[in-house]
Symmetry: C2
Subunit: 150 residues, 2 copies
């Protein structure tokens, strides 16, 4: 319904925050790159495009995007927090390759339903979940001297 950038601007409005060049730039690059990005990765992406913004600002803007419901935190098992664009209806889980770090986004309504049922059985009110399956992706299991795939 509402585009991510509008959601972000609404959040800024609702919370008496200000629209700054950095926030627009950072949100822009984040939103168009459809990947899982860490603070540092996004910071580098911005630099490569000649956009200046401090790490601290990138960090804070990602938190803002998260709070405004535009970005989801993802944790690939290594120890850095990444973010991905969250659009209305695209919850998904991940198959993460432990060899090349690539990931496949998957969704199974059956698994989702089973989860609801599981929670109900325990009187537990779910608000979010995270399902990550770690293993070896197709490309990596084919090549012997396995290096980066993607």
């Amino acid at each position: 319904m509402k585009t991510p950038i509008k959601k972000f601007r609404k959040y800024i409005d609702d919370n008496n925050l200000q629209v700054t060049r950095q926030r627009i730039d950072i949100a822009g690059v984040f939103l168009e790159s459809r990947r899982h990005l860490s603070v540092d990765e996004l910071y580098e992406l911005l630099r490569n495009r000649g956009i200046s913004a401090g790490r601290a600002t990138v960090f804070r803007t990602l938190k803002l995007l998260n709070k405004s419901g535009v970005a989801d935190e993802v944790d690939q098992g290594d120890k850095v927090t990444r973010y991905e664009v969250k659009t209305e209806d695209t919850h998904h889980d991940h198959l993460v390759c432990t060899v090349c770090d690539s990931y496949i986004e998957v969704y199974s309504s059956q698994i989702e339903e089973m989860q609801e049922k599981l929670c109900a059985e325990h009187g537990f009110k779910p608000s979010s979940h995270r399902l990550d399956i770690f293993g070896i992706c197709l490309k990596c299991s084919k090549k012997k001297g396995n290096k980066k795939c993607i």
Copy 2:
């Protein structure tokens, strides 16, 4: 089949490591406490029992227990790594309460099967997975001024 402590000792043997008082004590307390424990929590548990062991040793021993297949890493969403005892056949997932930090251990063979299927569809070879559902536990959703449950 094989008791956790035996597994641990076998790992020590197989890798030319040594059986030390600290390793025995740390493994002992870890194995009998059936909880998710961080390095610091286990360190404190040991102190409370008058067992002396440095944090570094607790840290290293938990890594050893993990490598020897006796301990699993768990991540409750806060930023500290915890470990839990891994016994042969007790893989499980978690319902984590975001109010009181308690957790319920759950298992659904149907969900597990669906995961296998999902992986197969993508030619992905799973080796492990992590399913955590965050939300509010029964106790917490009952009490209004909600504080710690457990």
